[in-house]
């Protein structure tokens, strides 16, 4: 199941999109979310779709892989499409059957919202697919840095995030081990009523928690010994470098916004 999940996974590569500065990609996605709302007619939504496909091509991620991974979201998109289709009551009636009446405006709205949804999901997935989690954390840290003035512990939050990401596989392995150990002792986790199965999880969680705390303590000691004393006076090994291609990417967004404003009704 976890193999098929596309969210939060990173696919190594060397495309233009992969090489972009993580900060550029983050800002890009945030601005894009706003820009999407400029579109309000067929031509402008068409432009958005073309733009998105252009980005998919540039990321060199196979379309099949992308679509396949987004299956759970597709259901959500279809659901919102149907909602709009049924509940919008504007424009000419194009179809009528018993209590269902479909209006022209409803169909239009449904398609537009679906496109909007689809485009946003694709772009955010491309962000996480082409950027290592650690770069995203770094980018967030630098972008949020100005908030330090208002006492937001930016460095600590970023460190917490990167350590959590680092320990996910370790704790997954551990869960697997504990699960096998409990199964070897006769614990049954796959059959029985929901309540029975919930109860079977308890002997799994307690050892996991105990060991997680032990690990946290060890890690804290190891960090202290290696001279960690907070964000003050720390240098960074990971350097984010803003290059020409990042500026060009930002500029493409300005052009897109301009085109959309020009073409909208």
């Amino acid at each position: 199941m976890l193999e098929k999940m596309i969210f939060g996974r990173y696919i190594p590569g060397d495309s233009f999109i992969h090489r972009l500065d993580a900060r550029a990609k983050l800002i890009f996605v945030f601005l894009f979310i706003a820009i999407v709302f400029i579109a309000n007619n067929w031509i402008t939504y068409g432009v958005l779709v073309v733009f998105t496909f252009l980005i998919i091509r540039m990321s060199k991620i196979r379309l099949y892989f992308l679509i396949n991974g987004l299956k759970p979201v597709v259901i959500l998109i279809i659901f919102t499409f149907l909602l709009h289709l049924i509940f919008t009551r504007e424009g000419d009636v194009i179809y009528h059957w018993k209590f269902i009446t479909i209006y022209e405006e409803g169909l239009r709205q449904g398609i537009f919202i679906s496109i909007r949804f689809f485009v946003l999901v694709i772009l955010t997935s491309i962000l996480t697919l082409t950027t290592t989690p650690i770069s995203i954390t770094d980018a967030l840290e630098t972008l949020l840095n100005p908030l330090k003035k208002w006492k937001l512990p930016v460095h600590e939050l970023a460190l917490m995030m990167s350590i959590s990401l680092r320990f996910i596989p370790t704790l997954m392995d551990e869960t697997d081990k504990i699960m096998k150990a409990q199964m070897a002792r006769g614990s049954d986790m796959t059959t029985g009523s929901l309540k029975e199965r919930m109860n079977a999880i308890v002997p799994l969680l307690i050892p996991l928690f105990v060991s997680a705390f032990k690990r946290a303590e060890d890690l804290a000691t190891a960090m202290e010994v290696r001279g960690y004393k907070g964000g003050e006076g720390r240098t960074r090994y990971r350097k984010l470098e803003w290059e020409l291609r990042d500026t060009i990417t930002m500029f493409s967004l300005v052009v897109l916004a301009g085109v959309l404003v020009f073409l909208r009704q």
Binding site: L165, R166, D173, R215, V225, R226, G227, R234, T235, Y237
Partner: protein, 282 residues
């Protein structure tokens, strides 16, 4: 005369508990470690050897007695300076891996000490080369074996070019192959640089590699000497709950069977030599 690098004087340490008649973890321990030596601190569980490690780098402070590192008494003020001169590797390979990838982890101590970026890149590469882990630079920890993770931990510890490398049971959670890898790495480092190595272990095979052995028992220093001197004690070590090195065990068993060996041999090589020449000596 070699210069002293760490010295403990009459150190007593008791862990804080509600129980008032608890035995001190360390009782009146004194020893001195000199520069460029490899010192092994051995003892069974609960002998106080891990507490010693924590006292030597200021994770704990003794109730009585003093801990001197680089000639200065360790205190809150010089703590961070001292730690930057002392690389430490712990027991559990997973729980000391901070970075998301190998190179991030090696850079962690450098970042903490404010080393400029350009120098950091060089040092990370150099340190990884020294432990033969360069090709794994971008690997994530869960794709590495225990031995590899410990070698990365060593790279992280030596990246700051410390004078002392402190190994706190660094090989006890590894398989034999991983253990061999790690020990070979430390031995090689020791030859290339004038690093002082302090290895805390309950494994007497590891202690054989040391120049000097300090043996702990029940929170007190039991005996101190060269590995040869220590292993002369044979039965005494067994009584203290330590495992003798394999070659030594075999020697003892052979002698018990009436085979005339010259001595209890510490290394396999000596034992084999004695065995194949034993007929000539008749």
């Amino acid at each position: 005369m070699k210069r002293e690098i760490i010295s403990l004087q009459d150190v007593t340490f008791t862990y804080a508990t509600d129980d008032s008649n608890v035995r001190p973890a360390l009782n009146n321990v004194s020893y001195t470690i000199y520069e460029s030596q490899w010192v092994a601190i051995v003892g069974h569980n609960g002998s106080g050897k891990s507490t010693l490690a924590r006292l030597m780098n200021g994770l704990l402070f003794p109730q009585t007695g003093t801990v001197r590192v680089f000639g200065e008494t360790l205190n809150e003020q010089n703590l961070w300076e001292t730690r930057s001169q002392m690389g430490m590797v712990f027991q559990n390979p997973d729980n000391q891996f901070v970075g998301a990838t190998v190179q991030d982890d090696v850079a962690f101590a450098l970042e903490n000490n404010g080393i400029p970026f350009e120098e950091m890149v060089e040092r990370v590469e150099a340190s990884l080369a020294k432990v033969n882990m360069s090709e794994f630079m971008n690997s994530e920890p869960h794709h590495l074996s225990g031995g590899q993770k410990q070698r990365v931990a060593i790279a992280g510890a030596i990246a700051l070019k410390p004078k002392i490398l402190l190994l706190d049971e660094a090989t006890s959670m590894l398989d034999p192959q991983g253990r061999e890898e790690v020990l070979a790495t430390v031995r090689q480092l020791k030859e290339e640089t004038d690093l002082t190595v302090i290895s805390i272990t309950h494994d007497l095979e590891e202690a054989l590699l040391a120049d000097r052995v300090i043996m702990m028992n029940q929170g007190e220093k039991y005996v101190e000497g060269t590995p040869e001197e220590i292993f002369q004690k044979g039965q005494e070590l067994v009584d203290l709950g330590l495992d003798l090195p394999f070659a030594m065990n075999i020697s003892r068993l052979l002698r018990a069977q009436g085979i005339p060996l010259v001595a209890d041999h510490m290394s396999e090589e000596e034992l084999v030599n004695d065995l194949w020449t034993s007929h000539f000596n008749k």
